[in-house]
Amino acid sequence: MHRNDQRLGVDSLANGDNSESIESLLQKIDRLSKINSVLMQRVERSMDQQANAFSLFQTAINLESEVRLRTNELNSTLERLEQSNAELVTARDTAERANRFKTRFFTAVGHDLLQPLHAAKLSLSAVAETGGDSEQSRLIARIDHALVSIEDILKTILDLSKLEDGYMKPALQDVALVDVFKPLLNEMEPIARAKGLSLTYRRNNFIIRSDPLMLRRILQNLLANAVRYTEIGRVFLAARRRGREVRIEVWDTGPGILAGEVDRIFEEFQRGAASEAADMSGFGLGLSIAQRMSEALGHTLDLCTRRERGTCFHVYAQFIDELTQSSRSKSPMVAHEAYGFQDAKVLIIDNEVAVLDAMRTVMEKWSCDCRFVSSLTDIEQLLAAEPDFAPQVVLADYHLDRGETGLDAIQLLRTRYGAAFNGVVVTADHTPEVQNAVAAADSQLLLKPVRPAELRALLQHLLA
C-alpha cells in the first residue's frame, strides 16, 4: 500500500497536470481514510497488554465477562444436576416403593400359604397314621416330600423378605461349630447318598462368633447347592483356622462356575449355567440368602472355582476359642418313642376350621383329651360348660378372628388357672415382636407349618 501511495504521488508530480493531481490526491485521501479506518478496527480488536490503568480496566471487563460466562455455565450445569437429581430421587422413591410392596407382598403371601400348608400336613400325617397299603404309603411320602419342599421355598421367601427389610437381626453368640455341622450333616447325608455322592465333614473344635440359626442356614444353603449341582464325587465340609478367623469351607466336585458368572450367582433367581442340565428343583435363592445373612453376621463369603473340577465356598467368621473335651455339653435329643399321651388335657384354639379338624384327627390318635375352640367367647362358654376341664397344655393360634390373638386367649385362661398349664402359641408370623410377646406371656412358640413330629416332641416335653 505504502509503495503504491508513493508511486501515486510521484506519478502525479511527474505528470505536472494540476487537475489530475487534485484527483489523485483525493483518491489518496480516500485510501488513507480507508487504511485509517482499517487500522482503527485493528487497534480496537487488539488487546493491550501494558499494565497501565486502562489495561487494568480492560482486563477487569474481560474478567467480568469471563465470570459472567462461567457463572452462566455453572448455573446451567447446576440446573441440569438439580433436574437429574430430582429425577433420580423420583426413580429411587419409585424403586423403594416397589421394593417395599414386593416385600410386603411376599410376606403376606408367605403367611397365607403357610396356613393351609399347616393344615395339609397335619391331615396328611393323620392319613399316614391310619396305616394302609404300601402304595398308599408311597403316595403319602411323595405328597409329604412335596409339602416339605413348598414349606422350604416359603420359608426362604420369608427369610429373604425379612433380610430385604433389614428385619433379621443376628443374635451373635459363641457357637461351637460341631454343634452346627453334625445335625446339618445328618440332615443332608441321605439326600447326598440318594444321588450317589459322599457327604462328609472334618471334625474340629472351633468356637466362633455367629448366630447359630443363621449360620446353619448359610451352610445348609451352600451344602444343598453343592449336593444339587454335583453329579459325581463328593461334598466336603471343613473348617480351618486362619489367624483370628475361622474359614468354613464347603467343597464340591461339581461343574464349577464360569468366571463371568461368579458375581451373578449371588443375585436372586440366578443359577449357574452349568446347572441348566441339572435337577431344576428349588429356587435360585440359596446363595443370595447365604450372602445376605453373611453380611448381616459380618462374615465374609467368597468362593474359588475351577471349571470341571469343582467349587469351594468359604465363610469367614471370628475365631473365639477351641473346645476342650470337658467343655462339651452335648445333650442329644432323646427320641421319645412313646405313642399316646394318656388322656392329657389339651385345649386347642384356632379360627381355621380346617386346622381344627386336622388337629382333632392328630390329637385323637395321640390319645389326648382335647377341646377345640375358635374364639375368646368359645373359651368363656367352655369354662362355663365344663368347669372341671383343667387343660395341661393350651395350643393357641396367634391370629384369631376379630383381632383377637392366641395370647389374649392364654391371658384369659391364666386368670382362671394361673400358671397351671403350659401355653403354646402357634403362628406363621415370624416377626421378633410376636416372639417377644409370646416369651413375655411365659409361653412357648411353635412356628407354622407345624410338623406333627415336632408337635409331639413338644407335647412330650411339656407333659413330662
Binding site: V43, D48, Q50, N52, A53, F54, F57, A60, I61
Partner: protein
C-alpha cells in the same frame, strides 16, 4: 425538609438542604429520631466545610460510626439536590456493617487493599446457610480526583472472590479541585472507604447505562495516561477534534456537551463510557477514568434515559421481588444530560417510585470495573 418514612428493613433516610450547617444537622438529628442505628452513611455538598461537617455529625450522633463523602449532587427522597446533606442510617437489627479505610490511594500497593479486604471478610459471620454473595455486599466511596480508581478496584477485586461491590467516586460539585471523605470522625483526602454490609434482607447489585455508538471514531494519538489527559485525537488538538466530531465550536464545549456526546470504547463486544471531565486551557481533555495512547474512541449519543432506567429497576424487581429502597451511585453527567433534555423530572419520578437515594459521582465502581455515565447501586428487597 420532611424525613422519608422508615424503609421496610428499618433503614432510615433523611436529608436537609438548609445552607446553615448547624440548622441542617439539627434538622437531620430531629428527623432521624432515636433509633438504634449501627452506622450512618453521609453524602454532602461541598457547600459545607468537610471538617466542620465531620465534627458536627460526630457531635450530633456521638455513638454511631459515620462514613461519608462529598458529592456532585445528592439524590434524596424528595429529589436530586445540590448543596444538601443526605444521611442513610442502618439499624442494628438486620445488618452487620464492617468498614475499613485505605489511605494514600495514589501511591498504593495491591497488597494493602487486599489486606483490608481480607480483614473485613474475616469479620463476616459464617453461621449462615446462605451463600456469601447472597448475604454480603461491599460499598466503596473513593476520592474522585485521585485518578487511582482502576488500579485500586482491580486490587480490591482480586481479594473479594464472590462478594459483589458497588461504589462511587466522590465529587465536588463540578469544580474539580478537591473531593473529601469522612471516616471515623476524620476528613480524609486521597482515600477510599470500604464498607462490607451483611444483610438479612435480599439485595441485588445492578448497573444501567444509556448510550449508543455513532460511526465517528477518534484515535488517541498523544496522552498522559497517568493523569488521564488526552492531548491529541486523530493527530489534532483533542478539544478541537472532539468539537469537530460533535459539530460544535471548541469554545462551546462544557459538561453538557460531554454528557450529551460521551466517548465510549469497545471491549469484549460491549461499549463502555470514558467520560470527559473538563477541557484544559491547552485544549487537551481531562477524563474521569483511565485512558491510553492508541485507544480508539467511538463518539456516542445517549439513548432514552427514562426508559432504560425504568427497565433496569423493573428487571431488578422482577428478579428479587418488590424493592424496598435503592442506594444508588449516579454519574453526574447522567444528571446533566437528563437536565439538558428536560427529562430529569421523569427520572426523579422513577427514583421516587423505587426509593432511590444516593449521590452524583465522578465515576461508578461495579465489581472489578470503574465506569462512567452509569447508575450503579444496591437494591434492597423485602424479607421473604
Amino acid at each position: 425538609m420532611a424525613a422519608s418514612p422508615i424503609t421496610n428493613c428499618g433503614v432510615r433516610i433523611v436529608s436537609s438542604c438548609d445552607p446553615s450547617l448547624n440548622n441542617a444537622i439539627a434538622e437531620l438529628r430531629r428527623d432521624l429520631g432515636d433509633g438504634d442505628f449501627q452506622h450512618i452513611l453521609a453524602f454532602y455538598a461541598i457547600d459545607h466545610d468537610a471538617e466542620k461537617m465531620s465534627s458536627a455529625l460526630a457531635y450530633a450522633f456521638p455513638d454511631i460510626p459515620i462514613t461519608g463523602c462529598s458529592t456532585a449532587g445528592e439524590i434524596t427522597p424528595v429529589g436530586a439536590v445540590q448543596g444538601g446533606i443526605l444521611l442513610v442510617a442502618f439499624p442494628r437489627a438486620g445488618f452487620r456493617i464492617h468498614t475499613g479505610l485505605i489511605e494514600d490511594i495514589s501511591n498504593f500497593g495491591v497488597e494493602r487493599a487486599a489486606q483490608m479486604v481480607r480483614k473485613l471478610k474475616s469479620q463476616i459471620r459464617d453461621d449462615s446457610d446462605r451463600a456469601l454473595r447472597d448475604r454480603v455486599f461491599a460499598m466503596m466511596m473513593v476520592d474522585g480526583l485521585s485518578n487511582a480508581e482502576e488500579p485500586l478496584i482491580a486490587a480490591i477485586h482480586w481479594a473479594m472472590n464472590e462478594i459483589q461491590l458497588v461504589g462511587g467516586s466522590a465529587g465536588d460539585g463540578l469544580s474539580f479541585e478537591n473531593t473529601s471523605l469522612i471516616y471515623d470522625g476524620n476528613v480524609v483526602a486521597s482515600g477510599a472507604a470500604l464498607i462490607f454490609v451483611e444483610c438479612d434482607v435480599p439485595f441485588r447489585i445492578f448497573k444501567t447505562q444509556n448510550f449508543e455508538p455513532t460511526a465517528t471514531k477518534l484515535v488517541v494519538t498523544a496522552a498522559d495516561s497517568h493523569n488521564r489527559i488526552v492531548y491529541e485525537l486523530n493527530a489534532e488538538p483533542a478539544a478541537l477534534e472532539y468539537a469537530t466530531a460533535i459539530d460544535l465550536l471548541p469554545e462551546d464545549l462544557g459538561p453538557f456537551s460531554f454528557a450529551s456526546y460521551p466517548l465510549v470504547v469497545k471491549i469484549g463486544g460491549d461499549y463502555y463510557c470514558r467520560s470527559i471531565r473538563n477541557m484544559n486551557p491547552d485544549r487537551s481533555l481531562s477524563f474521569f477514568c483511565a485512558i491510553d495512547e492508541g485507544l480508539v474512541f467511538t463518539v456516542a449519543t445517549p439513548t432514552d434515559i427514562v426508559a432504560s432506567t425504568a427497565s433496569a429497576l423493573k428487571d431488578v424487581e422482577s428478579s428479587m421481588g418488590k424493592i424496598d429502597f435503592v442506594l444508588g451511585f449516579e454519574c453526574v453527567l447522567r444528571r446533566l444530560d437528563a437536565e439538558n433534555r428536560q427529562v430529569r423530572h421523569k427520572v426523579e419520578d422513577i427514583y421516587q417510585r423505587y426509593n432511590v437515594v444516593g449521590f452524583h459521582t465522578y465515576g461508578e465502581q461495579y465489581n472489578a470495573m470503574h465506569l462512567n455515565q452509569t447508575l450503579t447501586g444496591i437494591a434492597f428487597g423485602h424479607a421473604s
